[in-house]
């Protein structure tokens, strides 16, 4: 009957066990029901509907019932083996916890939407230079205007120029970072005022009667005490003049590419072509994509390029989502850490599978009994899976708690170069990740353990001691150990390479001495100083005042090293004025190079005589001298802006822009001879801790001019620390991961060899009875371990070579195939592994043949 066929198919919804017990009867009952309904003249559709509803309700319950029974059984088993359970749970908690912690960082930094409305539609627009470099740059007014005019897929577009101002408030001065924003900026970000208003069209008129400002929430709290009367108040921004506060931004508002913008001013058009470039952002129209906008703006750019005087040099455009732009710097690093953390998870899986296998092996008799009583292989596998799941879920809960506990530490350790650290939290997504990971780990471990056990079960009989499946199982376990050793080796090599990298980075010749030097920024803009002479005299007075402080050994105007940005100038030889050469340039005053600790190779440093009245003078570094004046630089003259400048000295190469960047050809120009370029920074070298002298330095500066505020104050040691922070973070985490991996691998090897010895006690007894020496037995056991470790190391090496390209992005000053790192990693793993075999080997050597044989 077709009906009963359908019914039998539907019965498949029930667990097999239930179906086996009651399927036939249910089918017969259903048949009777239909017969009765037919006799009673009822329609069979009603019977079918009721049956269907019943099945859909009952079948899941039967599954849950079985699951609950299996889980209860697993829990009872675990309670009987607390040692095994505790070590499995600990292993799982560490593995899942570490991964959840790293995931929470990856999620919080890379994936979480920016805390702005419509954040998924926000894009960052940049200019790109001509190929092949296609260097990304901020945007010129001309490009911005053309995009704003032509882009159809943008709902809104806005720009912000970085500026700074000094807030003169209550007798003091505070240096503020600020932004000059375009008309569309706030609209693009859907910003709203907490108080007052944001900018309107009138504010952008170049003949506006008053300049207005919108202040950030922090500044409002800090400088204006959170008073609502601040709206309408005029505040003094020093050189930028008086502005009227018209609004206060909401506390949640933050522009993620310029977080410390405290005050916003309208970007009033000046018509000048020499304005500083700006950051541009846009909001995509609903449904529009980054790629679509890119295509559209490419067309706009190519049309502009065709009309330009020099089409080859016209800028292109690059569109990225705002979130990608914010997080781009940290992406590879975080993925790398996530990858290494998952290696630990792999080892955890192998270890727990091994533990469960030992556990199932110990229950062989029970499994055989159950199989004999009719438990199918599927049933045994299901039981094994449930055991794995129960362990993994409990371990996962512990891991999640562990993550909640370690994430704050991770954030504290993380370098400031990673954005959005404040937005990391252990919330639902992390819980979901921990759950999914636990389920995957539980399935993997349970399946690995039970499939091997299940396969061996039919081959076993109650009477046999050594069964066919044993061999297969120990093969599988040895395979797990080999995999563990291989993964642990990969991590150990990574850690070794990062240690070497850190050594290479810290051993880099800086070319200067960063100890006891402090960099102090100042802001002379408010003093209304005009002209070369006035600037030179302020700088001279300032430095003289600071030099008079007890403990200061050198001081001079100039920028701090590791600045990332640099100034570039063109110079020419008097003999070939039409062939300019580009060099890095630094505007420095007397005492600067001494305070930095640069070494004078020839000639002299700047002195007071290199002032406005003196002959234009410069120093060069060795690279510049070698490149441009190989015959000797001192006394040579070059042209800069058609003006002759004479070289008075040569200093060694100094790592100025970045720690890991090769020093470039650099020229030092006298700050006192340049009215237009203000470094606004000085370096002070002291005999002791420079931070202790800071109050005295402040007092000295106040005596020169009380209105001069300090901006950034930082020791060179701090700057160096920050420059190495990302690498240190990698090193810390990967070392931690590799130590955990090594520990787990050692525990795994120990467990497997120990079990194998326990199984072979009778065999060892026979061997010893036949004359094998204790040393021979020890060698036999160690030999077995050596094989596993050896194969693991070989596979690990292959993986290391395969991952060469990935690792190359994270090392510096060392080859990814560095024989020392590789050798040490292999040696450490081999030694730790053999040590783990040594204890079982000793036990094997102590086997008493009489006792062993009697037991047999």
């Amino acid at each position: 009957m077709p009906g009963s066929r359908l019914y039998r198919a539907l019965l498949k919804l029930f667990p097999r066990e239930f179906r086996g017990d009651f399927g036939d009867q249910m089918e017969a009952d259903f048949h009777d029901q239909r017969e009765d309904a037919r006799k009673a003249g009822q329609r069979s559709a009603g019977v079918w509907t009721r049956m269907l509803v019943d099945m859909l309700q009952r079948a899941p319950r039967e599954h849950v019932d079985i699951l609950r029974r299996d889980a209860g059984y697993a829990l009872r088993l675990f309670r009987r083996r607390p040692g095994m359970t505790a070590s499995a749970l600990l292993t799982l908690a560490i593995g899942i916890g570490l991964n959840a912690a790293v995931f929470s960082v990856v999620h919080g930094v890379l994936w979480r939407s920016l805390p702005l409305p419509h954040s998924s539609r926000l894009v960052y627009l940049a200019e790109v230079g001509p190929p092949p470099e296609r260097m990304e740059a901020w945007v010129s007014q001309a490009s911005f205007d053309s995009w704003a005019r032509e882009a159809r897929t943008l709902d809104a577009i806005g720009s912000i120029r970085i500026t700074s101002a000094t807030l003169m408030q209550g007798g003091g001065a505070e240096r503020l970072m600020g932004g000059e924003v375009s008309r569309g900026f706030f609209a693009t970000l859907s910003a709203r005022p907490l108080l007052g208003r944001l900018f309107n069209d009138g504010d952008f008129a170049s003949d506006a009667a008053v300049r207005v400002a919108v202040i950030g929430h922090d500044l409002w709290k800090r400088q204006f005490g959170g008073r609502s009367e601040v709206i309408g108040e005029r505040v003094n921004l020093g050189q930028a003049g008086m502005v009227e506060v018209v609004g206060v931004l909401e506390p949640a508002f933050v522009f993620p590419l310029f977080r410390n913008a405290a005050i916003m001013l309208p970007d009033v058009p000046t018509g000048s072509p020499y304005r500083s470039p700006m950051m541009a952002i846009g909001r995509l129209a609903p449904g529009a994509t980054v790629r679509g906008l890119q295509t559209e703006l490419d067309l706009v750019a190519s049309r502009l390029a065709a009309a330009a005087a020099d089409p080859g040099r016209a800028p292109g455009v690059r569109v990225t989502s705002l979130r990608d732009q914010v997080t781009s710097g940290a992406k590879t690093q975080l993925w790398f850490l996530f990858g290494t953390a998952s290696c630990v998870l792999l080892i955890v899986c192998a270890n727990v599978s091994n533990l469960l296998l030992t556990h199932t092996a110990g229950r062989r008799r029970e499994l055989v009994t159950r199989a004999a009583l009719g438990a199918s292989r599927a049933h045994l596998v299901r039981q094994g899976l449930t055991e794995g799941m129960v362990l993994a879920l409990v371990g996962g809960i512990a891991g999640f708690l562990l993550a909640g506990w370690t994430v704050p530490a991770l954030i504290a350790l993380a370098p400031r170069t990673i954005p959005r650290l404040g937005e990391i939290s252990v919330g639902w997504p992390v819980l979901a990740f921990a759950t999914v990971t636990s389920v995957c780990v539980g399935l993997t471990c349970g399946l690995a353990a039970s499939l091997t056990a299940g396969r061996s079960a039919p081959g076993l009989t109650l009477r046999s001691h050594r069964a066919a499946g044993n061999h297969e199982r120990s093969r599988f376990r040895q395979g797990l150990i080999v995999a563990q050793v291989a993964v642990a080796l990969v991590l150990a090599v990574a850690a070794g390479l990062l240690v070497q990298t850190m050594r290479a980075v810290t051993a880099l010749p800086l070319g200067y001495d960063p100890s006891n030097v402090i960099s102090i920024g100042f802001s002379p803009g408010e003093l209304g100083i005009e002209g070369t002479a006035a600037k030179a005299s302020l700088e001279r007075n300032l430095i003289e005042a600071i030099r008079s402080v007890e403990g200061v050994t050198a001081a001079g105007v100039g920028s701090p090293p590791l600045n990332r940005s640099y100034f570039s100038i063109s110079i020419a030889m008097p003999s070939k004025p039409s062939e300019p050469a580009d060099l890095h340039a630094e505007f420095a005053g007397p005492g600067y190079l001494e305070a930095l600790g640069a070494r004078l190779v020839a000639g002299r440093f700047f002195e007071d005589r290199d002032g406005p009245q003196g002959q234009p003078a410069a120093l060069v570094n060795e690279s510049a001298a070698k490149r441009l004046w190989p015959a000797g630089a001192i006394g040579q003259t070059f042209l800069h802006n058609q003006k002759p400048i004479v070289i008075i000295g040569m200093v060694n190469d100094v790592r100025r822009t970045g720690l890991e960047a090769q020093p470039q050809s650099t020229i030092y120009l006298s700050s006192a001879q340049n009215a237009n370029y203000w470094t606004n920074n000085m370096l002070v070298r002291t005999s002791g801790d420079p931070r202790e002298l800071l109050p005295a330095i402040r007092t000295a500066v106040r005596q020169v001019d009380a209105r001069l505020p300090f901006t950034s104050v930082e020791t060179l040691a701090q700057r160096l620390d920050l420059a190495t922070a990302p690498r240190r973070f990698n090193l810390w985490l990967v070392s931690l991961f590799s130590i955990i991996a090594l520990g787990l691998a050692v525990v795994g090897i120990y467990g497997v060899v120990m079990e194998s010895v326990a199984q072979r006690v009778p065999e060892i007894g026979v061997r010893m009875a036949l004359g094998a020496s204790a040393a021979g037995v020890t060698r036999m056991v160690l030999g077995q371990g050596t094989w596993m470790i050896g194969i693991g190391i070989a596979l690990g090496m292959a993986a290391v070579l395969a991952l060469n390209g990935v690792m190359a992005a994270f090392v510096f000053g060392v080859q990814t195939t560095d024989p020392v790192s590789l050798g040490i990693a292999c040696a450490v793993l081999a030694a730790a592994g053999l040590l783990a075999c040594a204890i079982p080997a000793r036990r094997a050597a102590r086997v008493d043949p009489v006792v062993a044989l009697r037991a047999e």
Binding site: F14, F18, D21, F22, D24, Q25, M26, A28, D29, F30, D32, Q33, R50, M51, V53, D54, M55, Q57, R58, A59, R61, E62
Partner: protein, 119 residues
């Protein structure tokens, strides 16, 4: 699975769900197979409790596991198995009846039943 009846306390199985109780009741007088149980329950309750096959065999599974009923050799055919109440199952059913009787007695002592009778 079921340990000896004398050591188990029927009270540990109480209260019974109505469906489960009715299944026990339907087996009180004679052994029945599944469909007969369904019919008997429907008849006894005037169609109020209608067991579907899935629910019924879920209950039978539990009753078998707990030793309240057992399969009967008598009356079984190839496809059909009949079930009968065990002595322990009878005790449990009786204990449930006692429990409900106690409830009714307790309610009798209050105004509850009198008031509802008046209403």
């Amino acid at each position: 699975m079921a340990s000896s009846d004398t050591t188990r306390d029927p009270a540990g199985y109480l209260p019974l769900t109505p469906a489960l109780f009715h299944v026990l009741l339907s087996l009180a007088d004679e052994q029945k197979h599944g469909y007969a149980i369904m019919q008997a329950v429907a008849e006894r309750t005037g169609g109020q409790v209608e067991l579907s096959t899935g629910t019924l065999y879920g209950i039978i599974k539990r009753l078998l596991a707990d030793g309240l009923i057992r399969e009967s050799a008598l009356g079984s055919t190839d496809r059909r198995r009949a079930y009968r109440l065990t002595a322990f199952g009878r005790k449990v059913a009786l204990a449930e009846v006692e429990r409900m009787r106690d409830l009714v007695t307790a309610a009798d002592m209050t105004k509850l039943l009198r008031v509802s009778a008046e209403v």
